[in-house]
Assembly symmetry: C2
Homo-oligomer: 205 residues x 2
DNA sequence: ATGGTGACCATAATACATATTGGTCACGTG
DNA sequence: CACGTGACCAATATGTATTATGGTCACCAT
């Protein structure tokens, strides 16, 4: 599963070390089973058979560990979204798939990995690096699709690209951001189709 | 100020009664100064010089009083939005004004009447009648603008009206709903213009 | 009827003492 | 130097005893 990419902010001590991976594995297990709050750093230490102090040789805080797990989780969602986008070959359909996949992946996180979802929600509220980076990557993906659509002639070219990206991003945000998603459950069935429709109409040349 | 329209659900006992108004006035004062939670029903009773029990002759619960105050508050926002819309005469501009006014009015509630804002947020979370009715009225306003735009030829007519209304409503929701607004502060400057732009492009015939 | 209340109850909020927890550091070991 | 830890501290979390609050009801007065 997790090929934990060494993250700048959460790292400390030896970058590539077996124990670091053990910590991540244990944390993933504990956080997703018992939740972030209920898991203590000592629990993780016990799980890997070292002392609590040793953990702090690898991560500078409990939150840093949380960020790592959260980042993995968001990267997985992103991967699913990218996969869905790649299934289509024309930009309009790519956009539709992107929207649909985002909603589906986020909902699955909520319903099947509630505890991890809660971490992601905290990450969004407190603007952890992991959450910001995820947003940025999704935005980039969106931009790529739009750019491609402009080249193929599927999308209009008058509106400044940045503006279009921003606007569509804002449309997607309630379903991307775990915090907002919670308050949009009533609409998750219809929203992807309806909003994709609106967005595509707005993009027609 | 408040010509409190007698609401179906929150009412009880004599519909049009001086004491009912006194309660509403006292509650508006107390709730907006000390907050909904910190205000006790006894406080309201003391403020109007009656016993707590007497208050329950007019409202069936503390929440019912909260709903009344919240409803007034939301009606005021709605009035502002309607006023802003009426200033424009062509549907596209009406839409722009609507979006802008919603954001402005909601932000003002947040920053200048925080305590009332919190009630509105609860109303949204717990789906009080007041909040649902507000949403419905805003939706109706949106529909009216769209319908007018279709008649004047400013807006396209192919997409089913209901679908368009729903989609645009979903676009506005993060700025309408007090709960969501909190998490969209970063975008309240740009969002109205950018999203109005996108929506209007999607409506072009 | 209409106007009005004190006494009462179950539940929720508060306050406070106690125990955990996140985090550090000096210090051992090979 | 790389590996590893127990003892320690401030701050937060938790359990619990107590109080305050929402809400009702029987009852009195006009």
């Amino acid at each position: 599963m997790s090929k934990a990419v060494t993250n700048s902010v959460s790292a400390r001590g030896p970058a590539d070390h077996e124990v670091r991976d053990q910590i991540v594995v244990a944390a993933t297990e504990h956080f997703s089973r018992y939740g972030y709050e209920k898991t203590t750093v000592s629990d993780l230490a016990k799980a890997i058979g070292f002392s609590k102090a040793y953990i702090y040789k690898f991560f500078e805080s409990k939150q840093a560990i949380g960020e790592m797990i959260c980042a993995n989780c968001l990267r997985q969602i992103e991967a699913e979204v990218r996969a869905a986008v790649d299934e289509a070959d024309r930009p309009p359909e790519k956009l539709r798939r992107m929207f649909k996949a985002i909603v589906e992946a986020s909902l699955r996180l909520f319903f099947q990995d509630r505890k991890l979802y809660e971490i992601a929600a905290s990450a969004a509220t407190e603007r952890w690096q992991a959450a910001l980076a995820y947003e940025e990557r999704i935005r980039k993906l969106l931009q790529d699709i739009l750019q491609e659509g402009r080249q193929t002639g599927d999308f209009e070219r008058k509106t400044p690209l940045d503006e279009t990206v921003m606007a569509i991003y804002l449309v997607m945000r309630p379903y991307l951001n775990p915090l907002l998603l919670q308050h949009s459950f009533d609409y998750t069935d219809e929203a992807p189709a309806q909003l994709s429709g609106l967005v595509l109409r707005s993009l027609s040349p």
